[in-house]
């Protein structure tokens, strides 16, 4: 069973629709399925240690957060039966049910998207979407964004240190710190604007212009038609109809 870009996109769509329409039990079951699939299906494994760590840490944070929020909902939304009382605090049924529903939804959404982006190169996804009609300039924008994001922490660090060395009030009280934002953001934006203008020139000087119909064919593109793709798309429609099917 091969999960290529089209199958993964269709699966993600199916999981996202289910997270919005399905009951919490189904969402939590699917979260477990996602966790299992990530371990046993080679195509769904994390690409590298960073994505694997991100998957684990984000899900662990969300899981703990969901439990806390469920409890807080149970305490603060005082509707329905009291499930239990402890030290004068009552926990209500409807609040807990609400917390579980939204927590399960967030967990499924997150795990579905982390599974997609953790196991697939962004260039593979954009190249596939490009072939399916996403304009070349949007694809180019996404690629350049990834490049800028990668270089941003070092730029910010450099400017932040320089401003601190010049005596900018980066550790003073809140209003001064907000004012010092301009001192940090201005050089960052100025240098990045100069760089983006130079990059714009460089792109045009390599033949890139508004009429470019560039398709990145250095990335192998998968045919969108397969049993799994059709299956997941069909299941997405079923998931969309779940509220009516379950009454």
């Amino acid at each position: 069973m091969h999960f290529r870009v089209p199958e993964k996109l269709a699966m993600t769509l199916c999981l996202l629709v289910t997270s919005l329409t399905g009951p919490p039990l189904l969402s939590l079951t699917l979260v477990a399925v996602v966790l299992l699939a990530r371990l046993i299906v080679p195509d769904l494994r994390s690409m590298n240690k960073i994505t694997a760590r991100r998957f684990r840490s984000v899900l662990a944070f969300l899981f703990c957060g969901a439990i806390v929020m469920t409890l807080l909902n149970g305490i603060l939304i005082r509707e329905g039966l009291i499930l239990f009382q402890w030290a004068g605090i009552s926990v209500y049924e409807s609040g807990i049910a609400f917390g579980i529903r939204t927590g399960a939804r967030l967990l499924l959404m997150t795990s579905a998207l982390l599974l997609l982006f953790g196991s697939t190169q962004l260039s593979g996804i954009t190249a596939f979407l490009n072939r399916m009609g996403l304009p070349a300039r949007i694809v180019m924008t996404i690629h350049l964004t990834v490049h800028f994001v990668a270089s941003m922490p070092s730029r910010i660090e450099r400017i932040y240190s320089a401003q601190e060395a010049r005596g900018a009030p980066v550790r003073a009280h809140l209003v001064s710190r907000i004012l010092s934002l301009t001192a940090v953001l201005s050089p960052l934006i100025l240098s990045s604007t100069v760089e983006s203008i130079e990059r714009g020139k460089a792109l045009e000087l390599r033949g890139y212009n508004s009429s470019s119909r560039w398709v990145d064919d250095t990335v192998q593109i998968d045919s969108p038609y397969s049993f799994l793709t059709v299956f997941f798309l069909f299941m997405s429609i079923i998931a969309l109809l779940l509220p009516w099917l379950l009454g």
């Binding site: 760089e195 020139k201 033949g207 398709v215």
Partner: protein
């Protein structure tokens, strides 16, 4: 075929109300030759290359120009309004920005240029492999383009333009921040293109252009204050003192005196 360049009476301003970068500027560069543009910072060297490449006309939304520019058979009045790639290729001063940053290998980076030109995949691979071999980059073909040395990055930037085989090659300070070995390598590459390609390069300190360029043009405040061979330049240096900032004049004098024996007559 290498084109002749004729710039006639060019006047160029960034803004209508601003002072001119060039005023009545004229220059002729013979086909297949290598012309070095020298001059202090702010003399208009880079702007001239940007005008010739077409990127100035395309991107400076408020600029105003008069005069004519002829590149081979093509005549532009006053300046090209869109980039003339692939006929004209400009290698920018900073190779880091010329590298797109969106490809993971040197091969894919150079190939990106040909994708813009809709060259078929098989021909792309052949041309990329040829240009990498020509520039001595074959061993780096699978390396990440941002994880190489400064000299190698400069050659990758050059490869990304040369792969489109421009007949007019413009280079903005190509020797900037290159060690002497990389400079020699780059000089050999450019020498091998002379004859089939007209080359215009800017060189603040003349070192790189000596032994490579056939025609030396000294700019100051957007005017041509000298044009001729390196020997002519050495002879005329005394008369240029009034036209150039003293510091820059001393730099030229020092460099030319040091390398006088190597200067071809």
């Amino acid at each position: 075929m290498a084109p002749r360049i004729i710039i006639g009476n060019l006047t160029y301003r960034y803004f209508a109300a601003g002072s001119p970068v060039f005023s009545g500027f004229s220059l002729e560069v013979p086909p297949g030759s290598c012309c070095a543009l020298l001059g202090p910072t702010g003399s208009g060297k880079t702007t001239l290359l940007e005008i010739l490449s077409g990127v100035a006309g395309s991107q400076c939304k408020t600029s105003v120009a008069e005069g004519t520019i002829q590149i081979g058979e093509d005549r532009y009045q006053p300046i090209p309004q869109s980039t003339l790639f692939p006929n004209v290729g400009l290698v920018l001063q900073d190779p880091e920005v010329q590298i797109s940053g969106i490809r993971d290998t040197v091969t894919a980076e150079v190939e990106f240029t040909l994708e813009q030109l809709s060259v078929p995949a098989a021909e792309r691979q052949r041309r990329v492999s040829d240009v990498l071999a020509h520039l001595g980059l074959s061993p780096l073909a699978q390396r990440h383009p941002m994880e190489v040395s400064g000299g190698e990055r400069q050659r990758i930037a050059l490869a990304s333009i040369l792969v489109a085989t421009p007949s007019l090659l413009l280079l903005d300070e190509p020797a900037n921040a290159l060690d002497s070995r990389s400079q020699h390598l780059l000089k050999d590459i450019l020498r091998s293109r002379k004859g089939t390609t007209t080359i215009l390069l800017t060189d603040y300190s003349i070192d790189f252009a000596l032994g490579l360029a056939d025609l030396f043009v000294v700019l100051s405040d957007g005017r041509v204050v000298f044009q001729g061979t390196s020997s002519d330049l050495f002879r005329a240096l005394g008369s240029l003192q009034d036209h150039l900032p003293l510091e820059y004049w001393k730099l030229l004098q020092g460099r030319l005196s040091n390398t006088r024996v190597k200067v071809p007559s």
